[in-house]
Symmetry: C2
Subunit: 221 residues, 2 copies
């Protein structure tokens, strides 16, 4: 199990360094020295730095998509054709996201990586994630559509990304925010705690009244 050990050690080290500093700011030498493996091991086992980055994501997203697909199967079975309630869908998504990294106590790393995947330009990453894991997201949004028939399609699209932003932003910046919260309110906040606080906010956001119609004839660059 020598090669497996090396591969795992590289992945374990890389994911926390990536999460802390971003991809471009993390050199292979930093990773390999901290992981106590040879520099060439990365190119030997993964081929390139880009592939290493993708492998880091795959290790989270592969189990996640599997679990999530399973959970959605179960939900659809339970509701047999009827629309699944919105809160049930959100709850299921939350549970699936939480379960995967829970096995390694690395939720904040996972969330930070997700945040980077969005913000970071890194064209190849977005393309990779989209191609590899786009289908499960499509399935989820389809179910969301059936659960919120009163929303116009475009409005639902944007609201989904609004709440996605809330969750990723909050959980990926959790450490910094937690420090402030503890200092100011003397309250130790757990992830469970945050999810509990998130729930009513997310639901309220999705069910907010529709915006006033756009004023006509206003141009913008």
């Amino acid at each position: 199990m020598a090669q497996n050990d090396t591969v795992t050690r590289i992945l374990d080290t890389a994911e926390v360094l990536f999460a802390e500093r971003g991809f471009a700011e993390t050199s292979l030498r930093t990773i390999t020295s901290k992981a106590k493996v040879n520099l060439a091991a990365v190119n030997y086992h993964f081929g390139s730095k880009k592939s290493l980055i993708q492998a880091v994501f795959a290790r989270y997203l592969d189990p996640f998509t599997e679990r999530f697909h399973g959970a959605l199967d179960e939900l659809e079975r339970r509701y047999r054709g009827e629309a699944i309630p919105l809160e049930e869908l959100l709850e299921t998504m939350a549970r699936s996201v939480l379960e995967v990294p829970a096995e390694r106590n690395s939720l904040k790393v996972f969330m930070r990586l997700l945040g980077l995947a969005y913000s970071q330009a890194q064209g190849h990453l977005r393309r990779y994630i989209q191609e590899e894991y786009g289908s499960v997201f499509t399935r989820f949004t389809d179910l969301i559509r059936q659960a919120t028939p009163e929303l116009p399609d475009a409005e639902r699209f944007w609201r989904l990304h609004f709440v996605l932003g809330t969750v990723i932003f909050t959980l990926s910046g959790l450490d910094a925010l937690r420090d402030i919260a503890e200092k100011d309110y003397n309250e130790h906040v757990t992830v469970r705690d945050l999810v509990r606080r998130l729930r009513p906010v997310v639901v309220a956001a999705m069910q907010a009244p529709l915006p006033a119609p756009a004023p006509a004839g206003v141009r913008e660059a």
Copy 2:
């Protein structure tokens, strides 16, 4: 006005490149060649790449904080001691943010930069922004507190960051999202449009019902 021209050209070019690719991924050579100035000009006028990054932010944040402070002064004068309504505060913040880059039609650049400032590790940037512009944020949160006396302090703290996440996440990833939205819904979305959609969602999020109390005795790693 030769030196001013060079300085401005560097800033103009740097800000769009930074916004497109991030800081580490944008080299001084790319900036200077695109701006048609000499490579050494950056170090001559700004001292270092770090200082250039800070200067890019200062060019947005200095006018913003001035306008925002002014707008808050005006609000406080209008309400003379009484609590300013939440929506008025949010509206004022939105207007101040929108006004500054409007002068150069570069709102998306500004937003992307804000998003990078959060997501990007770049320790020096966070510290710089915090030290230089933290006070206006403190003033704003104080007013928000007076506008939402029904919220427990901790709850308000988290909700503020929830909606901050929504806004920054959405607007900083605007280009990518816009592409999807246009492809799927054949709808060209402007920033004004997004702000209009954001408003009811943000208000609903801040006013959502309080979460169920935390279950007692549940431990977590």
